[in-house]
Symmetry: C2
């Protein structure tokens, strides 16, 4: 179980990760402008373990998700609402909940920020193919060593079309217990705390549509993709 404490939030004027840009342009004769951020494309991998008939997902604490939940809890809490009645205008106030009194009541449990996701990574190594990058992520995050050639491309699409618009490419990888060479878990020296979790095939569709389990659309989509395209191979009948 994650333990999260000593939380502090400040506006961030100089981020190495989030760099807003503004593009102005003329669309069909109308002058417009749009704020966006540059980001890397990414890959994600649906991993199926053919030995245990389980999907391999990663589970991790996501600060951005957590802060969303914090924001909602705050809006709902009458005490907190007193202090931030004017919505948007009070954003600078939101940045200082550091005192003891506030923290215990205002901060949701760490679990509010934990999500289930496909193994995934950024496309930030120009020399490597998408398959190679996906392969590295499968090894680092989940501990399975599979050749890039075994990665099957499912499809690609655009994510965050309002803000980043990056391209995500999704792969499918079949692994077996024999391919498992480490516990995975990401790069601890980079501060990654990634838990590798198994979802049995026969529970996958229930998992996918259970809204109480926080997850990305990639998990839902890929489970259904598997159900439609791979399940017959594994002689599994599941309800969608």
């Amino acid at each position: 179980m994650e333990e999260i404490n000593s939380i502090e939030v400040v506006p961030c004027t100089e981020s190495n990760y989030l760099k807003p840009f503004r593009v102005s342009y003329n669309q069909n004769g109308t002058k417009k402008s749009w704020d966006f951020m540059r980001t890397h494309d990414s890959v994600s991998v649906l991993i199926f373990n053919t030995t245990s008939h389980c999907f391999i997902l990663v589970k991790q604490f996501r600060p951005a998700v957590y802060m969303c939940e914090w924001e909602k809890a705050k809006t709902k809490t009458p005490q907190a609402a007193e202090k931030t009645e004017e919505g948007e205008a009070s954003e600078s106030q939101e940045a200082q909940p550091a005192s003891e009194e506030e923290s215990s009541s205002q901060w949701p449990p760490a679990s509010a920020g934990v999500t289930y996701e496909l193994c995934a990574g950024l496309v930030d190594k120009p020399d490597l193919s998408l398959e190679e990058i996906a392969r590295q992520e499968v090894l680092e995050e989940c501990g399975y060593d599979v050749p890039a050639s075994k990665l099957k491309r499912i499809t690609s699409y655009r994510s965050g079309v309002g803000v980043t618009g990056a391209k995500q490419t999704m792969f499918y990888a079949e692994v077996s217990d024999d391919n498992c060479v480490s516990a995975g878990g990401g790069e601890p020296h980079e501060g990654e705390f990634i838990e590798v979790v198994k979802v049995p095939l026969h529970e996958a569709m229930t998992f996918a549509y259970d809204e109480r389990i926080p997850k990305t659309m990639g998990v839902i989509f890929s489970f259904i993709w598997f159900h439609n395209n791979m399940s017959p191979k594994y002689k599994i009948s599941t309800n969608v």
Copy 2:
């Protein structure tokens, strides 16, 4: 066809839309920090027209997507895009350069930034239910007037878990030609240029997996959801 020109890009230090924050915290004894952005939750709607047996999507120019493609074109071609022969980047020269120095070939055609998406909108009206907000979007963007009670919740999930972590809720709406009260297209006075497009049911799965058609995962997932859950009702057999 979109016409985009007079493009200029500048770093954006004060955006009303993108406000980076930094949260620092202690996770399992390790001090960490993460840059994130606040954003609204959102709703999206898979619309199926039972009169014409078509899905109703929206298609629009997305500056963030366009800038991604611009970035790639720039990186790929040392001497700007005089050699952007491969694929999308070279289809036309609709977009004009920001200045004389930047050759016109640097800017990809406007089509590089156009995506197919589900009708969608931000959850930014605290007084309205998700269904009410979804209903308004269906009316504004696509021109169909359907009661909120006719919206069926498909599921919800987290988006942009690295940066925003907002919750997206997806609905399904059946409409008929009788519900069509306007051409849709968004709010032109807000500068929205949204094209309403129809995808015939029998072409939907091909559309979903055709990577040459830029789209969001919501389109792919919802088409497959329909295929699995609704197609029998419409006695349609499609290949997934």
